[in-house]
């Protein structure tokens, strides 16, 4: 087994990981190693970021408006200290990106071209900056290399390792080369987890690599997970996986049901078609339940300018539309069938609990970007948009970890732990026969993807789904078979998907109220008397344990009224 020593090991080479590694180098740390199971610059969700960068611009935007909307859309689940820090620092990060070579769209006078996408209304406009999507990660890889960050591509890290003399301190990690299968033991004084979130390989574009690797590694190493009941509901073209909702909403597409009726004003009078993803998704499920499906995205209002915007900011999706025949001769099809997608917690939703220094609850272990519980954004909130938060939290984690490692000795690994983890890592390869990883993914999707499980929730149905997941965990996961090292990756991903599905269901069952994307038919009220709490998940003796932690709203600038009110969707549907 190869042994690799570094001061700071960054796991996951998307926007958060690159920012973390670059900032660590800028702080003067000599050995910074960035590993990714893909190729840094072409891997992770950041690669396919849809060109939208929701950035508060000082002097141009109203801070109170941005902050209050972030907390309101976060349904008071935010860590408001984080929300403020994020808004304070995000423009600095945007300027850095621009200095490194990222092209933000600008008008003739050199001002940022800004679009009113999600969460923008006439009364409360929130404008996003736009960049040419695929360029972001190329710029970040080049910048990381310029800063002499050591990059190790095609290396999947599977286990975190503790210090031989202190079980509460992180000392390294274990992984393998995806091509050669060579095993690697990493020794590091600090580790930053930035390997994204969990997307359950859903019907949403280009997120199949987001399989909760960071969440599960962190959980198993003793770190706390938060906000897992708040899943990210996104929208996609029904025929194939797409992205780019911010751009499409911003350029005038509208939602229609099968009767040709625009329905969004009914579910969200203020924002209508510009509503947040969880509201759009819940509205879709309600329309389908009312017998008004299938549902469509209507591009009737699209003009040449809209299409040009689409092409510039979402070139990959534009190509997919052309290939499917939806865009022909410079014209877009009038309407296209559209669906909601459970995207796990990519973009927003649960993950590793962090403080404002990006420290998890385990010493020496940091998290950034989608790997975290999204403290700045709470349930959703426009500040959630993954790329801006990846930049602010990535930078913060890199700086904090740099401070932490200074003056520390090289860590000592626990040999017994290394050999145990290695056995676990290689088990799927050693089985003579067994179940294919794909089967496990499909079974998880069947359990949690129906709309009456993840969108319109009910305790009984969540319990039923949990039963299926626990059965998979106990009977099928121990039998997953990998034919080669490619399948070993898929096997470990499938196993992580099962663990994350269990965390999601346990948290969703525990929260006996409705709030944002967590919409329960059996508890249709937003209960600010009992539920201004975070749900925290930890692993103890191999079991996932649920607890709650009060949100210190009294110490925050924005305090909700301590009363019970109906969830807006429950009011429209007249649930009792």
């Amino acid at each position: 087994m190869q042994e690799i020593i570094s001061d700071i090991l960054v796991i996951g080479g998307g926007a958060a990981g690159c920012f973390a590694a670059i900032k660590a180098k800028q702080s003067g740390i000599s050995k910074v190693l960035l590993v990714d199971k893909g190729y840094v610059g072409k891997s992770g969700c950041s690669k396919f970021a849809a060109g939208s960068f929701k950035c508060f611009i000082p002097g141009e935007d109203d801070f109170e408006l941005w902050f209050s909307k972030a907390v309101e859309e976060g349904y008071y689940i935010n860590d408001q200290i984080w929300t403020r820090i994020h808004l304070d620092e995000v423009f600095e990060r945007a300027k850095e990106l621009e200095a490194w070579g990222l092209n933000f769209l600008k008008d003739r006078n050199g001002r940022f071209q800004r679009l009113e996408g999600q969460g923008s209304s006439k009364q409360r406009p929130i404008k996003t900056m736009m960049f040419q999507g695929p360029q972001l990660m190329d710029v970040l890889r080049a910048t990381a290399r310029k800063h002499s960050v050591r990059i190790m591509d095609r290396t999947m890290v599977t286990h975190l390792l503790h210090h031989a003399n202190d079980r509460d301190m992180i000392a390294g990690a274990l992984g393998f080369d995806l091509k050669t299968g060579r095993q690697k033991a990493f020794k590091a004084k600090a580790i930053i987890l930035s390997a994204g979130a969990q997307a359950y390989k859903s019907h949403y574009a280009y997120q199949k690599m987001a399989t909760g690797d960071a969440h599960v590694m962190g959980l198993r190493a003793g770190a706390a997970i938060k906000n897992y009941e708040f899943t990210c509901h996104h929208l996609s073209c029904a025929d194939f996986d797409t992205t780019g909702m911010n751009v499409l909403q911003g350029t005038g597409a509208r939602f229609m049901n099968s009767k040709g009726e625009p329905y969004m004003k009914k579910y969200d009078p203020e924002y209508g078609d510009h509503a947040s993803m969880n509201r759009l998704s819940a509205a879709m499920a309600c329309e389908v339940r009312l017998g008004n499906g299938p549902l469509y995205y209507d591009f009737g209002a699209f003009d040449a300018k809209s299409l040009d915007y689409f092409k510039k900011t979402l070139p990959i999706m534009y190509k997919a539309f052309e290939r499917a025949g939806y865009i022909k001769g410079g014209k877009i099809k009038d309407r296209v069938q559209w669906v909601s997608v459970n995207m796990g917690n990519v973009g927003y939703g649960g993950g590793l609990d962090i403080n404002t220094r990006c420290e998890t609850s385990v010493q020496g272990l940091y998290a950034a970007g989608d790997a975290t519980c999204g403290p700045a954004s709470g349930v959703e909130g426009f500040s959630a948009y993954a790329i801006p938060f990846a930049t602010t939290s990535g930078a913060r984690s890199g700086l904090a970890a740099s401070e932490y490692v200074r003056g520390r000795n090289d860590p000592l690994l626990d040999k017994e732990e290394v050999s145990f983890c290695l056995g676990e890592l290689l088990a799927p390869l050693r089985r003579r026969d067994g179940v294919e990883p794909d089967y496990v993914v499909l079974k998880v999707q069947e359990a949690i993807f129906p709309m009456d499980v993840y969108l319109l929730r009910h305790g009984k149905r969540l319990e039923q789904a949990l039963g299926k997941i626990c059965q998979l965990r106990d009977e099928i996961v121990p039998r997953i078979k990998a034919y080669d090292t490619h399948y070993l990756r898929m096997a470990l991903e499938a196993s992580n998907i099962v663990t994350c599905a269990e965390m999601f269901l346990r948290a969703a069952i525990a929260r006996t109220e409705s709030r944002g994307s967590h919409l329960r038919e059996d508890y249709p009220d937003i209960d600010n008397t009992k539920w201004l709490k975070w749900i925290v998940l930890k692993q103890e003796n191999g079991e996932i344990v649920v607890s709650t932690e009060p949100i210190p709203v009294d110490e925050y600038p924005m305090k909700p009224e301590r009363k019970i009110r109906r969830h807006p969707i429950a009011s429209v549907m007249r649930w009792k």
Partner: protein
């Protein structure tokens, strides 16, 4: 579906597609010096290989081989 074909006459065996594919779908046959589709069902139709192929030898369709479970 997914990545549909690689035009072997155009492919010059540069290995770019193998290097960048996020899902490890494409590999290079080092003897023949030609790329090939090895793990088709893991293709996420992200078009990266097609966009980055210097020879324009790869053709991707947006329809994935493996369709995820839908909400309704």
């Amino acid at each position: 579906m997914g990545v549909s074909w690689i035009d072997l006459e155009l492919c010059n065996g540069c290995g770019r597609c193998e290097l960048i594919c996020p899902e490890d779908v494409l590999r290079l046959d080092r003897k023949e010096k030609k790329a090939f589709i090895k793990y088709l069902r893991d293709c996420q139709s992200c078009f990266l290989c097609e966009l980055e192929c210097p020879q324009g030898a790869i053709f991707v369709t947006p329809y994935r081989e493996r369709r995820a479970v839908m909400p309704w």
